[in-house]
């Protein structure tokens, strides 16, 4: 190689290496938040007092439907994620009880990644390059322990209306149901692409429509495999039915605050384009501040909806004010 060519090659290599680490102009990569340049709250801005009050009208019987799976050793976890508890019970040892009242106590250490079990994806979870929701260049807002922007502490309440669509019934009614033999109850197979039209058909099935501030919950039946842990963990994690890009874009237009279902990633896996990674996460979280809730227990609410022909409920979800976290295990109840 001639010297000039060597210098050119070195410059190209150096330039490309520099580009890889350069901070991206996030205004060109992610749209701005409709709630202003300082917004870190995203779609939960839509949960106004009026929205919560209207949602409360869904409580007619006071019946509480659990929508979270118990978090216990052996449940399926994505990739290398882990969760482990360690119990401290030293006061149970003979002579270790305290005082005349013989007080004993126990505490736990919960050593866990945050995206385990039924969990919420926060706004800092998913980005495009180094750009996150509301054009935040996240590289400037992280330290060894957490994010200093877009943490869970900025999210407003999820006291709002939940709407369930039963995709198993939609597919059965349309004559296009294709299940998975590992499911004990009917489930859509992995790779089943749920479209906007499918969701609309699911809403129509129970005469429901989406309104601003809603949480949409989709029952695919895939959660049946979660319940069979650990026997079906590999199958559960091998793919999933879920929403595709057109459904995600339609949900954005409906101004919901979150979408959840009984799978580990909410979106269809394998995806529509093999060269895209978790693209629905980008559309919902990065571009629109709409949360994703994974591993939601949906079967009980689906049964309620089928029995009553009513698919709406008060959606109550507790998200800890865990500062700087990207997501967390959540407790969800649907109240009817």
């Amino acid at each position: 190689m001639r010297p000039a060519a060597v210098v050119t090659a070195v410059l190209i290599v150096l330039a490309s290496a520099t580009l890889a680490f350069a901070q991206t102009d996030c205004t060109k990569v992610v749209p701005p938040s409709p709630w202003g340049p300082n917004d870190q709250t995203g779609a939960t801005n839509r949960v106004t007092p009026a929205v919560t009050k209207a949602a409360a009208a869904e409580i007619k019987e006071g019946k509480v439907i659990p929508m979270s799976y118990p978090l216990v050793d052996g449940v399926p976890l994505f990739g290398t994620r882990f969760t482990k508890t360690i119990l401290t019970a030293t006061t149970l040892a003979p002579g270790a009880a305290l005082g005349e009242n013989q007080l004993t106590y126990m505490e736990d250490t919960w050593l866990s990644q945050s995206h385990v079990g039924t969990h919420l994806d926060g706004l800092g979870h998913i980005g495009r390059k180094d750009c996150y929701f509301n054009q935040i260049a996240m590289g400037k807002f992280i330290n060894q322990n957490n994010m200093t922007k877009l943490g869970l502490e900025h999210i407003k309440t999820f006291a709002t209306r939940g709407v369930l669509v039963d995709m198993v019934k939609v597919y059965q009614a349309a004559g296009k149901f294709k299940g998975n033999a590992a499911c004990k109850k009917p489930c859509l197979d992995k790779g089943t692409l749920i479209t906007a039209a499918d969701i609309q058909a699911g809403l129509q099935m129970y005469n429901a429509t989406l309104r601003e501030g809603d949480v949409l919950i989709i029952h695919t039946g895939w959660g049946d495999l979660f319940e069979q842990f650990p026997a079906q963990n590999a199958t559960y994690n091998s793919g999933e039915p879920g929403i595709g890009k057109d459904a995600a874009k339609w949900l954005v237009s409906q101004k919901i605050v979150a979408v959840g279902n009984d799978t580990w990633g909410v979106e269809v896996i394998p995806g529509e384009d093999p060269k895209e990674a978790f693209i629905v996460h980008n559309i919902l979280i990065t571009d629109n501040g709409i949360h994703i809730i994974e591993n939601v227990r949906t079967d009980l609410m689906a049964a309620e909806a089928a029995a009553s022909k009513r698919s709406t409920f008060f959606f109550s979800m507790t998200v800890p004010k865990a500062v700087g976290l990207t997501g967390n295990f959540v407790g969800i109840e649907g109240i009817r």
Binding site: M1, G79, G191, N237, S238, D273, P274, K275, A277
Partner: protein
């Protein structure tokens, strides 16, 4: 109902409609009536796979027929297509039987993946007689568009990458190139791939010594074959072009066990799951494994044939013209671009 509601309401006062307005109204009715039907148009497309025998790999790569089939099933989700799958089992009689069945089903288009030229000619002729358009994969069907790998081009990419690395990293050192793999697999056109590698190497290093090692389809022979070359080339740097990913990994192991890891660089062909993979799997091609002597692998994309072939099929079904030959866009996949080209499979 919708069609009639789109027609103009009767005009008060008994005014007669002009012929133009009548024509317009009629057109509106026709448009409204036909538009939903056009949107709902679905086609039945048959895909007759080369073979789906478990464990059997295709085209001299690590991909199986099952992966090709799954790729079609996934790609079809985006198109108004209902797929009918057949397995040709590399058997002419089976290929005939499959085509006959598809004619009976009146499929709208037939995708033929079969290696035997005379069978393809006969199958193509029967399908055409039945009015069913045909599209061939990797092996021509007369008068039908062909989607095909380009072994020569893929080999050249590998050869050039190796030569470039050798010249850049080891200037002034003695370089020896080794082409290793199932070199006698004529049906899989591996010799074309090897020829491409030779051309690619020679383009950059015209006097390079090139040694060919034929594993005859058994990657387990790589250690012995390559070991002999390594022993005879103690002071040389070795540029290894493996014709498939399994062979590449065996070549890496051979260099490792002989203590010659620092003397070798490998470029492979295929990019099958053995060389990339899921998020939590160990991957040879991985951004966090940039130091690997496996520099990369030239993608053959058999797992994505559906994404390439079905759009051609849809164009044919819509009456649009398609090229007589569409080649796979082979590309060198390295640690630097593998996550763009092949995101971990459990994340896409």
């Amino acid at each position: 109902m919708t069609a009639f509601s789109a027609a103009p309401a009767p005009v008060k006062g008994g005014r007669r409609r002009t012929p133009t307005s009548r024509t317009l109204a009629l057109l509106l009715i026709l448009l409204a009536a036909t538009a939903p039907a056009a949107q709902e148009r679905r086609w039945v497309v048959a895909f007759a796979n080369l073979t789906e025998e478990p464990g059997v790999t295709l085209e001299g790569t690590g991909f199986t027929g099952r992966e090709v089939r799954e790729g079609f099933a996934l790609a079809a989700r985006q198109w108004p297509i209902d797929l009918v799958f057949y397995d040709n089992r590399r058997d002419p009689q089976q290929a005939f039987a499959n085509a006959t069945d598809a004619i009976g089903r009146r499929v709208n288009l037939y995708i033929q993946y079969h290696a035997d030229a005379s069978t393809n000619a006969a199958v193509g002729s029967r399908l055409r007689a039945a009015g069913i358009p045909v599209l061939g994969i990797n092996h021509p069907v007369p008068e039908a568009p062909l989607y095909t790998v380009d072994n020569l081009a893929a080999g050249r990419i590998a050869g050039e990458a190796l030569a470039e690395f050798g010249a850049r990293s080891w200037p002034g050192r003695t370089l020896v190139a080794v082409i290793v793999g199932n070199l006698s697999a004529v049906e899989d056109r591996v010799p074309e791939r090897a020829q491409g590698v030779t051309e690619g190497l020679r383009r950059r290093l015209p006097t390079l010594k090139i040694v060919s090692l034929d594993t005859q389809g058994n990657p387990g022979r790589v250690a012995a074959l390559l070991g002999r070359v390594l022993a005879s080339q103690a002071g040389s740097k070795i540029l290894v072009a493996a014709t498939d990913d399994a062979t590449a990994l065996m070549a890496k192991a051979a260099l490792e066990t002989t203590g010659r890891l620092a003397d070798g660089a490998i470029v492979s062909h295929g990019v099958d799951r053995s060389i990339h993979g899921g998020m939590s799997e160990r991957k040879e091609l991985d951004p966090s494994n940039r130091g690997s002597i496996v520099l990369g692998s030239v993608a053959f994309y058999l797992d994505r044939y559906g994404y390439e072939v079905l759009p051609l099929a849809v164009r044919m079904l819509r009456g649009e013209s398609v090229p007589a030959r569409t080649g796979t866009r082979h590309k060198l996949i390295t640690a630097a671009n593998v996550f763009v080209e092949y995101p971990p499979y459990d994340m896409q």
